[in-house]
Symmetry: C2
Subunit: 204 residues, 2 copies
DNA sequence: CGGTGATCGTGACACCTGTCACGGGCAGGA
DNA sequence: TCCTGCCCGTGACAGGTGTCACGATCACCG
């Protein structure tokens, strides 16, 4: 075991990545051993640098931070992951924990708490934003089915039913049925509203 | 004149704010004298701390970073502003410069260049992301009219024509005409697409 | 002064959407 | 086995949407 906790940083914004590195470098017991800007480079870099904890942003090219957490869990079981994200969407928290993440921190949290969160995760504890944890329970699970999510995700870009049907290889009528169901489940009245609400809740 | 450059940080995400502070603290000639999380606190904090340069994020509660830059220009003419944002939308660059910002940096830029950008801005130079500058020229100005922007901004939330008409206090028919015009100008075929494209280009 | 363009409104038309009812197929649990 | 739930599709209907033509007012500019 090394004396310091080795940290891997994954964030697509170089400026934020560098800034977080500077922040963690202030802590004598932490050491940033790797930085990546894509989700699909996390496992490789974590292995090469023998990282103890991976700090993962969700919004990243390649694969997102949640999928990266799952990949780390499968490939490097001893490595802990801590998801750090901009959006405190309840669905994100649930999916992150299901992907094996040990912690979930929103970017609104004070800077000084980040190092402490890394230490707790490294010690085997779970770190979860308390305000989000309750919200996640209140909000409940994702009521959308697999196809509804898929159709709604494409509809988010704004095309017509025919365009969506072409992308997902379905009949236009089926697409409308899925959209109608999703509209009902989100309590909205148009697909654009439904897509927006679903995204805000982390259902996509 | 002080020996160090006094910097004000404005970003709604506390973690990013603190991280940027740590990053700039590494530079001996820079000093972070104030941190705020809202756009409408910038002028007050800049005055109180006698800041030389204001680092402004665009996405902020209260007023956004561009409006904050304009407020600083009007209230504190000697203070330079540097806009730092997540999205490299050409329209943002143009509007930021019109608001009197001395610099425009995307969060994708390497961390080490930030301090240099602050120094250049403090020296009275303009700092503009080069890749964005050319894109801004190619893209041209915002073709949308004032009312088209307003209607499109409301339509972005996804409601029906009637709902939009109620918000902007217009006739439903007029709203449809404005939307139709905006759809034509964005080269799209639905209002949702038009709103998405307009936002991506910084036209809203 | 006339011309131009943004703004606001109406009316009409073809088309798209959201909803519902109704099939059938397929997996998993009582 | 039946039942339930998800999936996929069709058809029909009312209502919303996008487009166009046509007026009208107002501000600005040559």
């Amino acid at each position: 075991m090394s004396a310091t906790i080795k940290v891997l940083l994954a964030d697509d914004q170089a400026l934020v990545r560098g800034a977080l590195a500077a922040l963690l470098a202030l802590e004598p017991d932490l050491e940033v051993v790797a930085e990546v800007g894509r989700g699909d480079e996390v496992v490789e870099a974590a292995r090469a640098s023998a990282a103890d904890v991976c700090l993962l942003d969700i919004e990243m090219p390649g694969i997102d931070g949640i999928a990266a957490a799952a990949a780390v869990r499968d490939a490097l079981p001893g490595v802990r992951t801590l998801v750090v994200t901009t959006f405190g969407r309840p669905g994100y928290l649930r999916r992150a924990l299901e992907a094996g993440a040990s912690g979930f921190v929103v970017k609104d949290t004070p800077a000084r708490q980040l190092a402490e969160a890394v230490r707790r995760v490294h010690a085997g504890l779970r770190v979860v934003d308390p305000s989000l944890a309750t919200e996640s329970l209140v909000d409940g699970a994702n009521p959308l089915t697999e196809r509804e999510r898929e159709v709604l995700a494409v509809a988010l870009r704004g095309g017509t039913v025919a365009a969506v049907a072409g992308v997902v290889h379905l009949s236009p009528g089926t697409v409308r049925n899925h959209l109608s169901s999703a509209i009902g489940k989100t309590g909205t009245s148009t697909r654009a509203e439904a897509a927006r609400v679903a995204q805000e809740r982390g259902w996509l």
